[in-house]
Symmetry: C2
Subunit: 214 residues, 2 copies
């Protein structure tokens, strides 16, 4: 009988369980990010994880379970920076910090970004409820906050929703369109050097436009 839960060092909580599940998720992230859900196969993931397909399926019963796990753990990484925008902070500084954090996520978690992009691009069938629920609620709240700042004259006025879209688009672009960015820049195709240039550019683009004319 597999996967009992009674004993703390047996079943789902054993060292092997934790390590292998981690191994599988890492391999699956690679594969799903590169091919989307439908384009990825369990065999590919099992290969990447260095184990047999039945062995992988011992840890995750179905292909969709692996994907679901990845999406769930991704969501915190995805929403945290937006949550961190502080109503009590300096408006311009908060927006700039948000942009910086989002860009760092593109640099440090590009595969996660591509996993998310693949999912949205393909109609978000497995996360639409989260988008319409948790994400929308959070976005509306922060949009209201930003609108308030604009009403107080602390930021130049513009549509807060489109502002957020633009921040998402510009920062995630460096992860999602990585291949194109590197091909076009063509210098030092390895490495993350171009992220510094991106940070300078984006801070200038958004903050110059948002700073109120005194």
């Amino acid at each position: 009988m597999p996967l009992s839960k009674t004993n703390s060092n047996r079943g789902r909580n054993s060292r092997i369980q934790r390590e292998k599940r981690e191994l599988i998720l890492g391999a699956a992230l690679e594969v799903f990010a590169a091919h989307g859900f439908r384009g990825s196969t369990i065999d590919q993931i099992a290969d990447a994880a260095g184990m047999s397909k039945p062995n992988l399926l011992y840890y995750f019963g179905k292909k969709e379970d692996i994907h679901q796990s990845l999406i769930e753990r991704l969501m915190d990484t995805w929403l945290d920076p937006l949550k961190a925008i502080d109503a009590n902070g300096d408006p311009l500084a908060e927006i700039c910090a948000y942009i910086k954090r989002k860009l760092e996520i593109s640099r440090d978690f590009p595969k996660e970004s591509r996993l998310f992009a693949n999912e949205i691009l393909q109609g978000a069938p497995r996360i639409i409820s989260m988008i319409e629920g948790e994400l929308k609620t959070l976005v509306d709240e922060k949009a209201k906050l930003i609108q308030g700042w604009m009403n107080e004259g602390k930021l130049n006025p513009c549509d807060p929703h489109h502002l957020l879209f633009s921040i998402w688009a510009t920062t995630q672009h460096y992860a999602d369109f990585d291949v194109q960015v590197r091909a076009v820049l063509a210098k030092d195709t390895q490495g993350d050097a171009h992220f510094d240039g991106a940070a300078v550019f984006l801070e200038n683009l958004f903050c110059k436009g948002l700073k109120p004319r005194t």
Copy 2:
């Protein structure tokens, strides 16, 4: 013997050939845009085109041929707006017009945009040579032009490559992340009304930042 070329009203140039190939490409665009290359099946495309799989394969010998055809015809749509930036025009007006055109393409050809995004996301295996060749050449040329404008004080200085990336990212976002945009805005999930808001926002964002302080 299929597909002879001798007679102008026979073979590849016949009415049926042209119409069916068009029908297939339309169906394939829908499917590839929604699932990426690997995630799409010939059966899906044949279904969407209302014909049998062998019949479809009579017009396009392989799955990859259909995709290739789509990519090829997409490329003009993709590169034309960038080509249209006129060295003799007013710098700020040229950039603004480019942004507007790119946004219109996201509105009018969202499936093409998602097809392209899927391809890049998944490592661009079938178009990397075009990216490294034709696209890079064109981008470098236009980046030089924009840099010249900045040197003459006609635009505020910034990195032209990152400027182009940001324009691509923000405009294509409305096609590629359409599901998320609509879910977050949540009003009038149908229609393209939000594109007007996006146009206003983006013109303000880019042009306020780029306009030289007089």
